[in-house]
């Protein structure tokens, strides 16, 4: 048993080492002096083995930083490790980074040499005279049909802000250049100095081979510069500036477009270029004869998805097929994409055991080789239909074709319909009056309720409030001095919240004077009481002076109503 495991492990290890590949690449082949490039050594199919970086006169290598990945695609596992170095040139000129060796197990793998050109800082833009532009291309050697990012940089000093740009013009015949119109901003250190950078992100997808040129490019930028025409002291104080338009010309960059290699080209290659993954699913995997199966093929990856044809399927004679639906999505620059092909299949026989193999052949420009993505046949279980038959059935009778309804706008209307008012309802006085009314009514109602409650619960308050009204009623009905006096007693009793029956002239004076009533008023009241007493005891008739006394009492009640007791 142990022996078998060891043999299995060795076979697996042999298989792993047999698939190992090592590729070195730099993010740019042409840089200005003072900049650095990123060198990446990617080891596919292994998870160890550090590269031996050779010494190159004039180049300094810093690093590495590593990243590992493990993936399971198309039923196959793969692992990789990447080593990243920052390469800084010490002088201008052409450099060759020689083959880099990587020891994995007992084998040594080598990368291909890389050419690096370091130019003077002023060759693509004079740092002393910003703004200037430059073209950044990861590699100047590309394959036809390959999609490669190509960015156009505008570089300017932070102290002279860029207000806008326009009129971007370029020559890129045969390169199929596309760019995003939105300027992406950032910053970059060049020769140890901080600059602001605006990038037109783009990509090329060459359509012809040979040595082509990207550029020259032309564009105009608007810079905000201090206003030199006016009073410089005030300009500096108040930040007065003016907009100056500056034209920028960027030199052409040569791009070598290689044809796809003839060597190793599979017979079924149909022009797909990029790095593509294939995923195939079929649902359900267990069906009855006549039932539909949704067969989905998903192709995704880096490259121009438009170059990827629909994969060829094997024999589908035992299935009734429907027209496949295809949905393609891609990014704005066509550097990544995804295509999902869905086909409905109807199993005609219980003899069907699997779905056919799916195969996609493409050229991988990074590995510089043709590759095949395949999906092993998917197992199916097809049972007899509901009638218990296992013979071929007519799919057309089982599935009614989906009815396609026509679509158009709804026809005209014959009446005018709702008409807008000249003034919206919410802007009319009626609306605001109706808004105010419930608030006022509510406040009034609550106030009234409080008053009623107080009347019921506070006797003194109730007597005080009613005093004048009741007294005036009694006075109005009084026909003799006795009734006039009774009205006065009632009024004072209610106002002072004391029994009315015992109120005499002296009691009234005693009660009123301490409460701050004017002495004259108290005296007048006392006089009224005495006049009534005199009249009553003397037996004077109502005709003599009653009206004057009643009037006098009314006046005194009015005066007392104005007084806070």
């Amino acid at each position: 048993m142990r022996f078998c495991l060891i043999i299995g492990f060795l076979l697996a290890a042999t298989r792993v080492f047999a698939d190992v590949s090592v590729v070195a690449s730099v993010d740019r082949n042409r840089i200005s002096f003072g900049e650095s490039v990123t060198l990446t050594v990617a080891v596919q199919g292994a998870h160890n083995g550090e590269p031996s970086i050779p010494k190159v006169d004039g180049l300094t290598f810093n690093g590495p930083s590593t990243s590992t990945s493990f993936s399971f695609v198309n039923g196959q596992t793969s692992q990789s490790i990447s080593y990243t170095y920052q390469v800084t040139p010490g002088r201008t000129g052409e450099f060759i980074i020689p083959a880099i060796g990587v020891n994995i197990g007992n084998n040594t793998y080598s990368t291909t040499p890389i050419k690096l050109v370091v130019e003077k800082g002023g060759s693509q833009g004079d740092l002393g005279q910003t703004p200037f532009g430059r073209v950044v291309l990861p590699s100047q050697q590309v394959y036809i049909g390959q999609t490669v990012p190509l960015d156009v940089y505008i570089i300017w000093r932070p102290e002279v802000p860029l207000r806008g740009s326009g009129g971007f013009n370029y020559q890129a015949e045969g390169l199929g250049y596309k760019f995003l119109p939105n300027l992406k901003s950032g910053s970059q250190v060049i020769n140890g100095e901080q600059f602001n950078v605006g990038v037109f992100q783009g990509a090329i997808s060459p359509t012809t081979t040979g040595t082509l040129n990207f550029g020259p490019c032309f564009l105009r930028v608007q810079l905000t510069v201090p206003n030199r025409g006016g009073n410089s002291l005030f300009d500096d104080m108040f930040g007065r500036t003016q907009v100056r338009e500056v034209p920028i010309t960027i030199d052409a960059v040569p791009v070598t477009v290689l044809p796809l290699p003839e060597e190793g080209r599979p017979s079924d290659f149909s022009g797909a270029v990029g790095q593509w993954n294939l995923e195939v699913t079929a649902k359900p995997a267990e069906v009855a004869v006549g039932d539909p199966i949704t067969f989905t093929i998903k192709i995704s990856g880096n490259g121009n998805i438009d170059t990827v044809p629909t994969p060829k399927l094997g024999a589908l004679d035992e299935f009734k097929t429907y027209e496949p639906t295809t949905k393609t999505t891609k990014d704005d620059l066509n550097t990544t994409g995804e295509r999902v092909i869905q086909q409905v299949l109807i199993a005609r026989s219980t003899e069907i055991k699997q779905l056919p193999e799916v195969r996609l052949t493409y050229f991988d420009p990074v590995a510089r080789a043709y590759k095949v993505a395949t999906q092993a046949p998917i197992k199916l279980v097809v049972k007899a239909g509901s009638g218990g038959q296992s013979t071929i059935v007519s799919g057309g009778n089982r599935l009614r074709p989906e009815e396609k309804l026509g679509q158009d706008i709804v026809y005209l209307k014959g009446d005018l319909g709702p008409v807008p008012l000249a003034t919206p309802f919410c802007a009319t006085p009626t609306f605001w009056a109706l808004n105010t009314m419930p608030v006022l009514a509510l406040l009034g109602g609550i106030g009234w309720k409080k008053r009623s409650d107080k009347f019921r619960g506070d006797v003194a308050y109730a007597r005080r409030v009613r005093a004048a009204r009741d007294a005036r009623k009694l006075l109005a009905a009084a026909t003799n001095y006795d009734e006039v006096q009774h009205a006065m007693q009632n009024y004072l009793g209610d106002r002072l919240n004391i029994p009315a029956a015992g109120i005499t002239a002296s009691v009234a004076e005693e009660q009123l004077l301490p409460r701050g009533v004017d002495t004259q008023l108290a005296a007048d009241l006392k006089a009224c009481f005495e006049a009534c007493d005199t009249a009553r005891f003397a037996g004077q008739s109502a005709d003599t002076g009653l009206a004057a006394t009643r009037k006098n009492v009314e006046r005194l009640i009015d005066e007392l109503e104005k007084t806070h007791l």
Binding site: R163, G164, S165, G166, G167, P181, N182, L183, R220, Q222, Q407, D408, I409, V410, Y411, L412, K413, G414, D415, L416, G417, P418, V419, P420, L421, P424, F425, C426, T430, F431, L434, N435, P438, V439, A441, L442, G445, I446, K449
Partner: protein, 253 residues
């Protein structure tokens, strides 16, 4: 029971007062314009619809159809949107608006990105501003009457409190919807892109950098008006300057 009857009367009265629209009889001008449309003279029909006053909901709707037939889908969407402001629940208007937006592929662009925003927008646009005004009044009266009843009829306080809470929510949401339709529309009027493709720029200058592009039929809010240039905001929050002639304003509310 008596109180309930009064509340019912008030609600009906306020609702009737709140209705800002009236159903108008078909006019001869509309019939004539429809005949031009039926004869396939869509350009003439559009001119005839433009002349009809007042601009009722179905005039805008028919005008939208006339522009649609001329393949001016931006103008069609603008007029359907105008019609929807007046008759927000008319199924034909909603169907044609949706169809035209789908034809231009802007139905997603014109939809707010967040689910809560989408829900609020769909609810608020279900009624006209006048209907929300009436709703606000109903809510306020209900709230005031229920609070008053709580004070005067303490035995039924619990029931009236429920009515008061309901009234408060009706009042609150109607006020919110009304302010959204009227005040927001005053601050940032809604508009539709009617030009085939419009570039939104960083500055109101012809050669300033293009920030993004607005497809025909895209709904925008006008944040600033500088005559020939408008500063607009798309439903996803992107902002930029566009030329005024490429935008049509939705005027009714």
């Amino acid at each position: 029971m008596n109180l309930r009857r009064h509340i019912y009367k008030v609600v009906i009265l306020v609702w009737l007062l709140g209705l800002s629209v009236a159903i108008a009889a078909p006019s001869d001008d509309l019939k004539a314009a429809n005949q031009l449309y039926d004869a396939g003279k869509f350009a003439e029909a559009a001119v005839a619809y433009e002349k009809i006053e007042p601009k009722a909901a179905h005039v805008y709707y028919n005008l939208g159809n006339a522009w649609f037939r001329q393949d001016k889908l931006g103008l069609a969407i603008l007029n359907y949107a105008q019609a929807r402001r007046l008759a927000p629940r008319d199924p034909d208007i909603l169907a044609n608006l949706k169809f035209a937006q789908q034809r231009l592929g802007v139905d997603d662009v014109n939809t707010p990105p967040r689910a809560t925003q989408r829900f609020l927008r769909s609810v608020i646009e279900r009624c006209t501003a006048s209907e929300w005004s009436a709703g606000e009044l109903v809510g306020l009266w209900l709230l005031a009457l229920a609070i008053g009843a709580c004070v005067y009829i303490p035995k039924a306080r619990a029931a009236f409190l429920v009515i008061a809470v309901a009234g408060f929510f009706v009042f609150g949401f109607s006020s919110f919807a009304l302010s959204d339709q009227v005040i927001s529309n005053h601050i940032a009027p809604q508009a539709i892109v009617v030009a085939a493709e419009t570039e939104a720029r960083f500055a109101p200058l012809s050669d300033s950098t293009v920030h993004f592009r607005l497809a025909e039929g895209t709904r925008v809010a006008i944040r600033e008006d500088r005559g020939q240039w408008l500063f607009v905001e798309r439903a996803d929050g992107q902002q930029g300057w566009v030329k005024a002639e490429s935008i049509g304003r939705i005027t009714n509310f």
